[in-house]
């Protein structure tokens, strides 16, 4: 007995250091994971779960965000080369967790408005965040796939969580079918990549990219993989699901889907294309990304003009923003990657804020989502109108907000990569998009309402919108700190 104890003690002494180190390495992930498990327990056994769960999720998300900022210097590759920590991965983690925390804030009152409370809502939210984090930190193709499936399935269910609404059911089914199809394409791409590269480790693939890119099967596999992810980021022509899904899903979730989901998919695209960024290899996918960027920007901006439902309008604006970020992927240098990450951070907070405001203005049973519901909002609720105006100005790319600087930096990287024509297309679509962003402001401030706009409520929703607005202002006026943080970890 004594010997076995000392044997156990010896073993634990030998491994305790690595366990401790491992524990710290995956701290943001393990906080979320333990949060999921404890949430399930709370939901099962506590009758106060409706009050506890949102706050518990917020605590878990914020502590995960704080830990990822605190441990940002801890850049390692762990678990046998499948997961990366530190650096830009943790910047992505911060985006996901903060975006989700703000979404939870705006969900608290939103769910009360709809009356259908499910504890699973918060559990699924946390699980989707975990999936996003796995995707962002992946160093192995299977990790990407795990994260993708975890995030996607949670989103499919979250889209349809208001099961009494037929719009939600439609949204969920459309998302599921198209998403499963896209995942199938991705898996086929993975199979081809594995077949040609004979490994699933991304580092080895990146190192051998030059040799592999002569193999047509490898390029085909990469192309299928990228196309599958183009579905996920809702770029033209793979965007068809976005308007219906954003419109049908509950508004708070739509906020997270449009930001976190897109950010995670972009992080995967950045990882998989990291072979071309140092300039060692030719960016064979430049024509592809350039074309879908141009088409997404123009299509998104033009079609958004004809929308009357604000959630559909925001969905088309998301398509356009995905286009701007694809300019960065087409440019393919370090500046463009930094630009994409900065743009994603700005975009996350802009969109989460917008959807939080929309969720507050929304009435029961999907009423008051038309643009006409915003007429005269400045009189009824000036704070909400001011927040909405700020987000609209930032989305259209006006200084001094964060949206402008993201666009500016991506345009710089495009011009440096000799893609000036793409920057000009971006400018043209910015001008077009100004029209429909401004239209909301015109309705809120300049138009006289015929009827009284519906009473809007929600203390916590306002809080999340205010935090998002402050972050946008800070990122807009002082973008240097985030930018230098991102570029420091890129090399």
């Amino acid at each position: 007995m004594a010997e076995s104890l000392t044997a156990v003690q010896k073993l634990s002494n030998k491994y305790s250091k690595t366990y401790m180190q491992d524990f710290i390495n995956i701290l943001p992930l393990s906080i979320i994971a333990s949060g999921i498990f404890i949430s399930v327990l709370i939901e099962m056994y506590s009758k106060y779960s409706e009050e506890i769960l949102p706050w518990f999720s917020i605590i878990m998300l914020i502590s995960s965000a704080v830990s990822s900022i605190a441990l940002i210097n801890n850049t390692q590759v762990i678990y046998n080369g499948t997961l990366a920590t530190g650096g830009n991965v943790y910047i992505f983690y911060f985006m996901f967790t903060m975006g989700a925390a703000l979404t939870v804030f705006s969900s608290i009152d939103y769910i009360k408005k709809y009356g259908s409370y499910f504890g699973e809502y918060y559990i699924l939210l946390l699980s989707s965040v975990l999936g996003m984090m796995l995707m962002a930190g992946a160093k192995d193709i299977f990790t990407i796939f795990m994260g993708l499936e975890l995030m996607s399935v949670c989103f499919y269910v979250l889209a349809g969580i208001n099961r009494k609404k037929s719009g939600a059911n439609e949204a969920s089914l459309k998302y599921f079918l198209l998403g499963a199809f896209a995942t199938g394409i991705i898996v086929y791409g993975i199979a081809l990549i594995f077949g040609t590269a004979q490994t699933t480790s991304i580092e080895i693939i990146v190192a051998n990219f030059g040799v592999l890119s002569h193999n047509i099967l490898f390029i085909a596999g990469m192309l299928l993989f990228i196309i599958g992810f183009s579905f996920k980021i809702a770029a033209f022509p793979f965007h068809m699901w976005a308007p219906d899904v954003y419109q049908g899903a509950s508004t708070a979730v739509a906020g997270l889907m449009s930001t976190g989901g897109k950010a995670a998919a972009f992080s995967v695209l950045i990882i998989i294309l990291s072979a071309v960024f140092p300039g060692n290899n030719v960016n064979v996918f430049r024509p592809y990304f350039a074309v879908i960027a141009a088409l997404s920007m123009i299509y998104g901006s033009i079609v958004a003009i004809s929308q009357t439902n604000i959630k559909r309008m925001l969905a088309y604006s998301s398509i356009a923003h995905a286009g701007y970020m694809c300019i960065g992927l087409a440019a393919g240098n370090y500046e463009s990657v930094a630009g994409i990450i900065f743009y994603l951070a700005a975009y996350t907070f802009m969109n989460v804020g917008v959807f939080a405001v929309v969720a507050m203005i929304e009435g029961e049973n999907d009423t008051n989502l038309e643009l006409s519901g915003y007429i005269g909002l400045s009189r009824k609720n000036p704070k909400l109108a001011a927040l909405m105006a700020l987000f609209m100005f930032s989305l259209s790319g006006l200084p001094p907000f964060a949206g402008f600087f993201g666009k500016y930096y991506i345009f710089i990287s495009a011009v440096e990569a000799n893609l000036t024509w793409l920057a000009i297309v971006g400018i043209a679509s910015s001008v077009i998009s100004v029209y429909f962003y401004l239209r909301v402001i015109v309705l809120m401030y300049f138009s006289e309402p015929e009827t009284e706009p519906a009473v809007v409520g929600g203390g916590y929703g306002v809080f999340s919108a205010v935090i998002a607005a402050l972050l946008i202002l800070v990122l807009g006026v002082f973008p240097g700190s985030l930018l230098s943080l991102i570029t420091a970890y890129l090399k």
């Binding site: 930094a338 011009v415 400018i427 300049f446 240097g480």
Partner: protein
């Protein structure tokens, strides 16, 4: 290098004022109005301090503040002032309190938001005139659109939504084009000097070295953006709507300052950065300017709405300014700079007077007036003074600017033809036609409507607003040297940069 921070104070005071205003309860309307007036007067005092400490014998930029802002793309908060910007800064800081005072009784709803937007607008305008970094310039240029858009859209006339949206999208389209040129220029600077930069003094060395094929596109991108703002024919179509629909205060600021941002931009950026293109395109742009002079005047002649008449007269007057800029002689550029100030004062006064009569009768149609000279003589005298100043009567400010511009373009080596001067001079005659004809119909003759008999004359507040403007109009007209000497050295620097001649070392000339 020690920073003098005076220009930063100039920018910070209205910004701080506007943010503080957010915390004031909107019911204290009187307090809000006085607060706005005091803040903008404080800014005026700071600009007077800058005026007194400005050394007009030096050619370079003074009062430079240079703080690194975003290290990665070499953007710094780089501000400085030279003779040209000093005159425009003084114009801005002078007109803003005047405007706020003039809307004392005419802005009745949302007074707090109005003052907030006016103060923000002042920050934007001042920032444009003092920025020495293209990125900073762009931020102020665009950020200034938001308050103007709200001012037109909330407190404007019946078609204000159409006017404000048109104004916003038209101007933004132009400035986004300028953004591409700024980025392009920065990338070129990276090729020449090794680092992407948007700092103007550095770009002054890079720009002239870019070969003409590429340079002309950058020049055109900048030019179109500024041409929309000026406005230069044929990019002027936003102006009549915006001016007519805006409230009086908005029109005064729009005509008085915002239009000058376009001409200032041409002088500060297009000419020195792209000298070869500027010289080659000068005749064509001057043709557009002359067309604008004559077209603006002709259309002004047939207007029935007084405000629209003054709006089109702006197109005509600013055509003179652009002609003077592209003539590239000392007299012409000096004439343009002083004409910018003159136009701000005289058209500002005209808009104020039209606003005053509108406050009383709620109509701007010329046909609803007639013979008001007997009823409101003070107003009629003021209107006469402003009209004569706009026409360019010798002895008042307009004459100085127009004469210098015509003289300079007559002997311009770049334009190389008397035709420009001859056609532009006809614009002076047309100005007299439309202005005096309007004046005669409104003020002289028999009283046409009985309702006019009850018109009240200028109140003390209105007299207090107009008198300083008229003092400056007379001062510039009789002794313009005080103002011309400020900008002389800087104008010469711009001309020399545009013509590719050697420029005195600006760095050693910089002074606190």
């Amino acid at each position: 290098m020690e920073q003098s921070l005076l220009l930063t104070y100039l920018l910070l005071i209205p910004l701080a004022g506007s943010l503080l205003l957010l915390f004031v309860n909107k019911a204290n309307e009187t307090f809000i109005k006085w607060f706005g007036l005091i803040i903008s007067s404080a800014v005026f005092i700071v600009s007077m301090i800058i005026y007194y400490r400005f050394d007009y014998n030096l050619a370079g930029f003074q009062f430079i503040d240079n703080f690194i802002w975003i290290n990665k793309i070499n953007v710094s908060y780089h501000v400085g002032i030279d003779g040209i910007s000093l005159l425009l800064v003084l114009l801005t800081t002078f007109l803003t309190p005047v405007t706020l005072f003039s809307s004392w009784n005419s802005i009745k709803k949302k007074v707090k938001e109005f003052t907030f937007f006016m103060l923000l607008l002042e920050v934007g305008m001042l920032g444009v005139f003092v920025s020495l970094d293209l990125f900073l310039f762009y931020i102020f240029w665009e950020a200034m659109l938001i308050p103007m858009y709200f001012i037109i859209g909330i407190w404007g006339g019946d078609r204000r939504i159409y006017a404000s949206v048109k104004f916003f999208i038209y101007t933004m389209a132009g400035s986004l084009l300028m953004l591409i040129a700024i980025i392009w220029l920065g990338v070129y600077a990276a090729k020449f000097t090794g680092a992407f930069t948007t700092s103007l003094p550095d770009l002054y060395k890079v720009g002239p070295n870019i070969q003409y094929e590429i340079q002309k596109y950058m020049f055109l991108a900048f030019l179109v953006s500024f041409a929309i703002k000026v406005p230069l024919f044929p990019f002027h179509t936003w102006l009549p709507d915006a001016h007519v629909q805006a409230p009086t205060a908005g029109s005064v600021i729009l005509a008085g300052v915002l239009l000058k941002m376009g001409t200032y931009g041409i002088l500060r950026f297009c000419l020195p950065l792209f000298p070869q293109s500027a010289v080659i395109f000068a005749p064509y742009v001057s043709v557009l300017a002359v067309i604008g002079i004559i077209y603006g005047a002709l259309v002004a002649m047939v207007q029935t709405d007084m405000k629209k008449l003054v709006a089109y007269s702006s197109v005509s007057h600013l055509g003179f300014v652009v002609l003077g800029i592209f003539a590239m002689t000392t007299e012409a550029v000096q004439g343009s700079v002083i004409q910018m100030v003159n136009h701000g004062l005289s058209t500002g006064a005209l808009f104020l007077l039209v606003g005053m009569i509108y406050d009383r009768t709620h109509t701007r149609e010329i046909s609803s007036y007639g013979g008001i000279a007997k009823i409101i003589p003070l107003f009629s005298v003021a209107l006469m003074f402003a009209s004569l100043s706009s026409i360019g009567l010798p002895g008042l400010n307009g004459f100085i600017g127009e004469f210098l511009i015509l003289l300079g373009s007559f002997k311009s080596p770049v334009l190389n033809s008397w035709a420009f001067t001859i056609f532009a001079a006809s614009g002076v005659i047309f100005a007299a036609v439309y202005m005096l004809w309007m004046y005669q119909r409104v003020v002289f003759g028999p009283v046409t409507h009985p309702g006019l008999n009850s018109l009240k004359d200028l109140t003390k507040r209105e007299i207090l607003i107009l008198v300083p403007i008229f003092i400056f109009i007379l001062w510039i007209g009789v002794y313009p040297g005080t103002f011309l000497k400020l900008s002389e050295k800087s104008s010469n620097v711009v001309i020399r940069q545009a013509l590719g001649l050697s420029v005195p070392d600006l760095k050693s000339a910089a002074k606190q």
